[in-house]
Symmetry: C2
Subunit: 230 residues, 2 copies
């Protein structure tokens, strides 16, 4: 009983780190490793080993005392918790460079997300193929989906947001540098590259230690030449 009395929603910082742990676990599993401990994970993810253990403890007990965590189990469990076993349809509006980069990315479409449609307004682009998908006109109405992704120029972002809301998406991932106004109840998440750049520049100017932040940053521990990814 008390077992199940974990807080029902994960702390936001934990939520940001879980996908990182998952990626590391995936890399280790692929490399054939059978165990990874909280210190390894922490070094690679830029978190302390204690933080790693605390984060993972929210998912239930899944390590083995004395040895560590099994990368496969870890990967699997994080998938479950993040809801990747369900599937969500995603519509993407704006097939410029960024839109194409996202559709073609090996990693953007995590397990659980499925592209239901990709859209643009440019007649030159409509009808062309990006990956497996044909670009549709945004005027023809949007496919029903849970998540909408906006990658249009900032001037058009609000208009697209309104179309997405009208077609009843529940969440919007906005890559345009533009603040959106949407009805209460629609989740909007901003992804903003320039913010990241600004934060880096602030840390450079101030020599501030880069530890502790929203998106993770790793301080590697071995010289660069010593390790090489395969």
């Amino acid at each position: 009983m008390a077992r199940l009395l974990r807080p029902k929603h994960l702390p936001e910082p934990t939520l940001h780190r879980l996908p990182i742990y998952q990626r590391i676990a995936g890399e280790w599993a692929k490399r054939g490793e059978r165990q990874i401990d909280s210190t390894n994970l922490g070094d690679l993810a830029g978190a302390s080993s204690t933080t790693v253990r605390r984060d993972l403890s929210y998912l239930g007990p899944l390590g083995t005392r004395g040895s560590g965590y099994d990368p496969n189990t870890l990967f699997q469990k994080i998938s479950e918790v993040l809801g990747s076993q369900l599937h969500y349809d995603v519509v993407m509006v704006g097939m410029g460079n960024l839109g194409r980069a996202l559709v073609n990315s090996t990693s953007f479409l995590v397990h659980g997300a499925r592209i239901a449609g990709i859209y643009d307004i440019d007649p030159e682009v409509i009808g062309t193929k990006v990956g497996d998908h044909e670009v549709q006109s945004v005027d023809g109405g949007l496919e029903q989906a849970a998540v909408g992704v906006i990658c249009v120029p900032p001037e058009q972002a609000q208009g697209v947001a309104e179309k997405l809301v009208a077609s009843k998406v529940s969440a919007i991932l906005n890559f345009a540098p533009q603040v959106l106004t949407v009805p209460l109840g629609t989740v909007v998440r901003y992804v903003d590259f320039s913010i990241e750049l600004q934060i880096v520049m602030y840390h450079l100017t101030n020599g501030t230690g880069p530890l502790g932040g929203g998106i993770l940053h790793t301080l590697g521990i071995t010289p660069p030449v010593a390790l090489r990814s395969t």
Copy 2:
């Protein structure tokens, strides 16, 4: 004296919000508004008015009691604090869709950052122009710069990171979904779209309120049709 005894480094969460306030201030200034108050800012940025005031108070007193903040002053002051008055050279490696999207973006290159060079390994791409810049071969050595941006496929990311380290960048912004190993002292910041998508999906599954997080999200307060950006 006590005036100057503010904590010397801004809290990370504040650091993430400042660029958002700045963007909003910019939009209001352009629209000719002469005042914006902490409630307006908070609604648009997805933060409480108290948080806005606390954040801005770190920059020194810059509001007017009774009315609010002047958008221009606000914009200016945030620029200063984020170090945008200094200028940093940036090299970018990988001119696929993502790299091109970043170079062409109106907003990625915030005031203070300057592209010192853009690179690729693909002979097809080397020599072509992206925006105002000609793509150089990555084998010819990199221009000296403070910040390196990685937008290559994950398999190549570690190799590029090592090149960047060798050419003495102080900070790396990594868009590849790949954990990097670098010498201690090099700042690495990860930007990872799939993490954002996963977090959105988690919130959808769990109906968790989206408030409070690293990257901001706005819950608009007016119906979508009421406002339109120009």
